[in-house]
Amino acid sequence: MAWVNAIIQGVLTGGLYALFACGLSLMFGVMKVVNLAHGDLAVVAGYIAIGVITVTHVPVLWSFLIVVPVMALLGYVLQRTVIQSALDRSVLITLLVTFGLSVVIENGLLQFFTANSRAIGTGLPLVTGSFTLGSQIQIGYLLVVVFAVAVVVLLGLQYFLSASRYGRLIRAVADDREAAQLAGADYRHVFGIAAALAFGTVALAGIAYGMYSQLQPTTGTDTILLFAFAAVVIGGLGSLWGTLLGGVVLGVAQQIGAQINISDEVLAGYIVFLAVLVLRPQGLIYRRTQS
């Protein structure tokens, strides 16, 4: 029974990982940017949410409505200025710059907020409560909600990409930037939109994580970035549902590892990640239509 519990836990955690990962996948798929600061942005969003709640005393769920748009806007601005400049220079410079941002953000948080972990207290029974299936399987409410939110967000993103004008433009620019320019699209603006989406989703994920677990300045790189990337790689770049699958595989692998040895949870995930990188780097769901 412990195993069934573990697997369910892993599947549901996969939803959270997918939520973290879809922004990373978007930025990498569209502009070929590996945003090494991606995880730290989630943590920043969490901290901002904590700050907003502390200062304005709004209900916790309102923090989403405030922080997510702000982060999305920040994403657009950062993309149009810093990241675009780096992209114009070289891939190496882009990696360096995003890595620099990651280090600056983490140490900045460390400096101003100390290394203490924080959580977003909701006071709702939602967070701590759980329901039971049968007699021995216990599933936390929050995790189910997060999984549901992840699916909804992915659906929304999928719909946006396939049916809306900017979604089409994003896909077009990802396929062939020059041809998109020839059709009248300013790819820098389109990149900005993609970055805004990425920052917005990762902010959402960060706040959710802050409710579900603890946030520390180093959570961005310790926990989030590598897991998000693992979800993208395992699932396969270019497919949002692949990212969900990747997240689930990662989550389940971690829980299985934990069952074998409680301290091997993270290690199990990394080993699966490395195995996929070596054996099937294109991931489980491979879309061959990218040019």
Partner: protein
Amino acid sequence: MAARAGGRHHERADDAVTRPENGARPESGTPLLEVSGLVVHHGQLRALDGITLRVFPGEVYAIIGANGAGKSTLLRTIAGLHHPTKGSVRLDGQDVTRLRPERRARQGVVLVPEGRRLFGSLSVEENLQVGDSYARPGPWTIERVYQTFDWMRERRSQLTAQLSGGEQQTVAIGRALVANPRVLLLDELSLGLAPVVVQRIYGMLPQILATGLTVLLVEQDVSQALRVASHIHCLLEGRTTLESRPADVTAAQVEAAYFGLADAAPASRPGGESEP
């Protein structure tokens, strides 16, 4: 047809059908597209060395030349994808040399690039929709494209990566048309396509021209270019070796200009316009 200076060898008897009627140019008036003294470098290599040309409304202006002569570079510079070292590009009198390619496209200079360059993960219809995203007002709509190329309507949900070369070329042209350009730039339409397919595509030019477009095309196949063009411009190693109306030159002169032989066409000097 204008009187010919010397004997001219006809490839086909019915080629007059495809060539636009008006071969004469207005004495005054602004050319729709004007390129002056264009010098373009690829790194150290001087790809274009002082190119000047003028395209007037309604013309089919063909640029011919051997591989590496600079034809595609010229078209891409006009579209804004390359920055010239010297010289200017004017659209209807306005200097667009410094405009980014997307701005130029929105102003009406639309390039159908070499190799089609469709969005492979998008369907036929989505490709057209992208072309429509920043379209100018005009007679061309997605619906009209479907009417012109009726096979497209049934296949519109298909991913373009699954189409044949000729079909892809047509979709690429459709994508450009939907933007209602003033000048349609066509880069090597015939590349990689069967002659029959190429004929069919070029056969649509009159329909396109009838809606008020002007066409500037690059073509590897000289005889094809001569069939459809109202003016031809020959490049060799980045310099102009011939500029004339097809009616006014002999095949031998074209050949000489193409290969850079000694007895080249009359009065062909770099950067200048030649007179028959």
